[in-house]
């Protein structure tokens, strides 16, 4: 009881849910904020997806049919920014908000008011970004990587792009600080670090990556801003600067960013696979160490994104070896998941299906990643559809599938109802088939010489592009099933038990479904037997 009393000042309403619009606008509740993050992410997923549909429609056949090249470039640029910063990152933070307090036995997040702020910055930031479509000079069209000097040619939208990135950075940093403060200070008695569920572990590491990497991006775009408006010359050769310097600073952020996106997904499937294999996670400690070493190494490989920019031999060799080294801890994780399934007693509900999808298709993306880490062959692969295939394999079936599997896994807990299993399975199979039709042929056209970020292509690539576009439309449509499943599950359905899944363990499954408004008002006692079993 004293535990809750300490937190009295953080909650203006302790026993009753606030109602109406105020419940959401001024919310300091981790579940409500988590829900808002997830809904926001879903909306952004469809906005970014709509842009992808425009891209695939234009690329359905050679020649320009629907859009002009400048607008096409805006589509590829803003699609990436919306998907990365609007869909994937907020989805990760949303799941963290919902689950971390419940998983560590806390009543709420450590800093609920900051939690509210870090969410409400997001819609504001995306309004700035998307408003550029209606400005003189159009939306950003120089690629999400914002390389100068090209990005400096953007019209009135330029400062809006920069400030949107600043706000997104501030939001993520506040979210990350909140998560670390929560896990460090609010764990239930007996919940030692080596008893934390793996999802919590991957999120701590992600949060540290965010705090280390996002400010560097903020610095880089601030330099762009002062270069354009205040006469500095960080990236202008005329004033003694170097445009390549931006790429170094950007990718110093950009590579850890890749792991910011993927680690929460690793955490999610590390919860799900043991549940449905009915067997403890294989190599818990080595999973934690592998995640930490992936995060650490991610700060020393950034230049593999820019092998073709022209570096001394020693630099290219260093970044090639460091990149190859990352394959080792990543391999350990894949092998550990496989060993978790081995000799288990598996069932294949929708969350497990999506988690297995991650396992197979993320590994496939890992293989092409390893190929591109080899500098001399990267001179051929770089900036072709081969890299587009690679990072989409990692991002869509690797990360988006991970998030979706988490949503299916915890949705009965959140709503108190089981989702429609038949529709869930349909969603999995349509998504998995279409995502491979969409991204697998990209390897072929990339190797055959089709560069990325082009609105029109030579006729030899026509057949594959048509197939890719059909896969794209099918994948887009399949996601409507998810929306239907979620709405249906919120509105009703079979009552979920507290444990939800036969093989589920962990503190979140000791709470009722749906859980009380404030998760653990009395901290639970955690022992070795209740932790990772």
């Amino acid at each position: 009881m004293s535990y809750a009393a300490v937190h009295e000042d953080d909650h203006h309403d302790h026993d009753h849910k606030p109602t109406g619009i105020g419940r959401w606008l001024f919310s300091t509740n981790h579940k409500d904020i988590g829900t808002m993050y997830l809904v926001f992410s879903l909306i952004m997923f469809f906005i970014g997806g709509a842009m992808a549909m425009v891209i695939r429609a234009e690329l359905f056949q050679p020649g320009l049919q629907f859009v002009d090249p400048q607008f096409f470039n805006s589509m590829t640029t803003v699609h990436a920014l919306v998907m990365i910063f609007g869909a994937v990152m907020p989805a990760g933070v949303g799941l963290a908000n919902w689950m971390i307090p419940m998983m560590i036995g806390a009543p709420d997040m450590a800093m609920p008011r900051m939690n509210n702020m870090s969410f409400w910055i997001l819609p504001f930031a995306f309004t700035l970004l998307l408003a550029t479509f209606f400005m003189q000079g159009g939306a950003p069209a120089g690629g999400w990587t914002m390389y100068p000097p090209l990005v400096l040619q953007l019209g009135d939208g330029f400062p809006f792009l920069i400030f949107a990135v600043h706000f997104l950075g501030i939001s993520s940093i506040m979210g990350a600080i909140n998560i670390i403060a929560t896990v460090f200070n609010m764990r239930a008695p007996g919940m030692t670090f080596m008893r934390l569920p793996l999802f919590v572990w991957t999120w701590i590491i992600t949060a540290f990556l965010l705090i280390a990497a996002m400010p560097v991006l903020a610095g880089a775009v601030t330099m762009l801003l002062t270069d354009k408006f205040f006469g500095t010359a960080f990236f202008d050769a005329a004033g003694g600067g170097d445009p390549v310097l931006f790429q170094h600073v950007f990718w110093f952020f950009g590579h850890p960013e890749v792991y910011i996106l993927v680690l929460p997904s690793f955490g999610i499937i590390s919860q799900i696979i043991p549940t449905f294999a009915r067997k403890p996670l294989f190599g818990y400690a080595s999973m934690v160490y592998a995640t930490a070493s992936i995060a650490f190494l991610s700060f020393f490989v950034w230049a593999h994104h820019m092998f073709t920019v022209g570096m001394p031999l020693a630099g290219e060799l260093f970044f090639m070896y460091a990149t190859m080294a990352i394959a080792v801890p990543t391999g350990v994780k894949v092998f550990n998941w496989t060993a978790t399934m081995w000799k288990g007693s598996m069932t294949f509900e929708t969350p497990m299906l999506f988690a297995i999808g991650v396992l197979f298709m993320f590994t496939l993306g890992g293989f092409s990643g390893l190929m591109m880490g080899i500098t001399p062959v990267d001179f051929q692969y770089h900036d072709t559809y081969f890299i587009v295939a690679h990072f989409h394999y990692v991002l869509v079936p690797g990360i988006v599938f991970g998030i979706i599997s988490g949503v299916y896994y915890w949705m009965p807990k959140w709503t108190g109802h089981m989702y429609d299993e038949k529709l869930g399975k349909l969603h999995f199979w349509t998504s998995t088939i279409s995502v491979n039709v969409l991204f697998f042929p990209m390897h072929f056209i990339g190797l055959a010489g089709m560069p990325r970020r082009i609105p029109d292509y030579s006729t030899q690539f026509t057949d594959w592009n048509m197939i890719i576009s059909i896969g794209g439309f099918a994948f887009g449509l399949s996601q409507l099933i998810l929306v239907w499943v979620v709405i249906k599950c919120i509105r009703g359905g079979e009552k979920a038990t507290d444990q939800v899944w036969e093989g589920a363990h962990g503190l979140e499954f000791t709470l009722s479904s749906p859980p009380p408004f404030h998760s653990f008002t009395t901290p639970p006692e955690v022992t070795d037997a209740t932790a990772h079993s």
Binding site: G63, L64, L150, G310, F335, M371, P451
Partner: protein, 378 residues
């Protein structure tokens, strides 16, 4: 028991056929990297195939284990979960084995990279400069210099709703007005740089691509084995027409190359002469039309109305209908997004295109600008 056996056989067949199909499919050109025509591209292709086979084998092994587990260790088949949750031996094994495989891959990769970096002792030097959205080639030993842009035919077809079927054009979007001509059996040093934003010069058959960065220079080399036509593209996003600045390399015998060099020198002399004579208005208008189609149309559009907010209209423009001197100054030296054309086009081309613009659409200037006027303004 027999059901299990059957399943195993089917699985095995699927695995083998997948492997065969991927092998057969990858052997065909449009699905795989080109072997190319230089020592570098051969080495890169071999390395690519080695790594591809290694990851395919690892993939079959890993996916095989996963699939086996998924088929056999399922609750519906009565599998009871074992409760082991770690094994130091296994974990050390699957750390060490990948390290060994990676070292095995790093050795040939390092060798190839060292080979690619030997840019010295070349017999000739070609400088490639990226512009928005064309390439400039300087043969530094010979003093030859020209621009190379998307061919007029392709440029017309690629306009939005042009009504021209791309399939009627051979090598659509991979044709240029002036291809770069290089001799075979010659070590050529290739320098890349750019005038405005970052571009990247890539001809797959040569086996590499390299960024062209404004204010900085990169060195590369090539040695072409076989005569032929090799096509490539810009591969670094460089703005609106990034997709429309191809590269065409004509590799010819050394003798043919020598003849070509002499021809080019003569052409450049003749072009310089163009400024020294009086041109008729008809002549200027005819030339101006094609210069416009090749250099101006993608921004200012065929109807001269530009794109609102990005590229100003020439139709009814105060500058186009204003004093000739002001217009010449703008086209020579550029302004904001408008590139400076003084290097890209000669006096006759510039005079012709301005004459064309002053006489087209609703414009009222209707006069002719002479190449001599442009020359005087340079």
């Amino acid at each position: 028991m027999s059901v299990d056996k059957l399943k195993q056989t089917v699985l095995g067949l699927v695995a083998v056929s997948l492997f065969l199909v991927s092998g057969a499919v990858l052997a065909e050109y449009p699905l795989n990297l080109t072997e190319g025509v230089t020592p570098t591209s051969h080495k890169v292709y071999e390395l690519h195939m080695i790594i591809l086979y290694i990851v395919t084998v690892i993939g079959i092994a890993v996916f095989g284990v996963m699939a086996w587990s998924i088929f056999h260790h399922r609750k519906s088949k009565g599998a009871v979960a074992a409760q082991f949750h770690h094994s130091t031996t296994a974990e050390i094994t699957w750390t060490i084995i990948p390290i060994l495989i990676l070292v095995g891959m790093a050795i040939p990769a390092t060798k190839t990279l060292v080979f690619m970096e030997k840019t010295g002792d070349a017999e000739m030097t070609l400088k490639v400069t990226g512009y928005q959205w064309k390439w400039k080639y300087d043969y530094l030993d010979e003093g030859i210099s020209f621009f190379s842009a998307l061919s007029e035919e392709d440029n017309k077809a690629r306009q939005r709703n042009s009504g021209i079927d791309p399939f009627t054009i051979e090598n659509y979007l991979k044709n240029v007005d002036n291809p770069v001509v290089l001799p075979v059996d010659t070590k050529i040093r290739i320098l890349t740089t750019a005038a405005d934003v970052i571009h990247a010069w890539w001809v797959p058959a040569l086996g590499w691509k390299r960024d062209a960065v404004p204010g900085y220079i990169n060195d590369n080399w090539t040695y072409i084995d076989e005569p032929g036509i090799y096509r490539g593209k810009c591969t670094e996003l460089c703005g609106k027409d990034h997709g429309f600045m191809p590269i065409v390399v004509h590799a010819v015998s050394k003798e043919e190359y020598a003849v070509w060099v002499e021809e080019q020198k003569a052409i450049q002399l003749a072009a310089a002469d163009g400024a020294n004579r009086e041109w008729s208005k008809e002549e200027l208008l005819e030339k101006g039309k094609s210069v416009y189609a090749a250099n101006c149309v993608s921004c200012h559009q065929a109807n001269g109305n530009g794109v609102e907010g990005l590229f100003p209209a020439l139709n009814g423009s105060a500058i186009v209908n204003g004093s000739a001197a002001e217009m010449i100054d703008l086209i020579l030296n550029g302004k904001n997004l408008m590139p400076a054309f003084k290097e890209q086009l000669n006096d006759a081309d510039l005079a012709a295109v301005m004459t064309h613009e002053r006489n087209s659409w609703d414009n009222t200037a209707k006069d002719a600008i002479q190449p001599a006027d442009v020359k005087a303004a340079r």
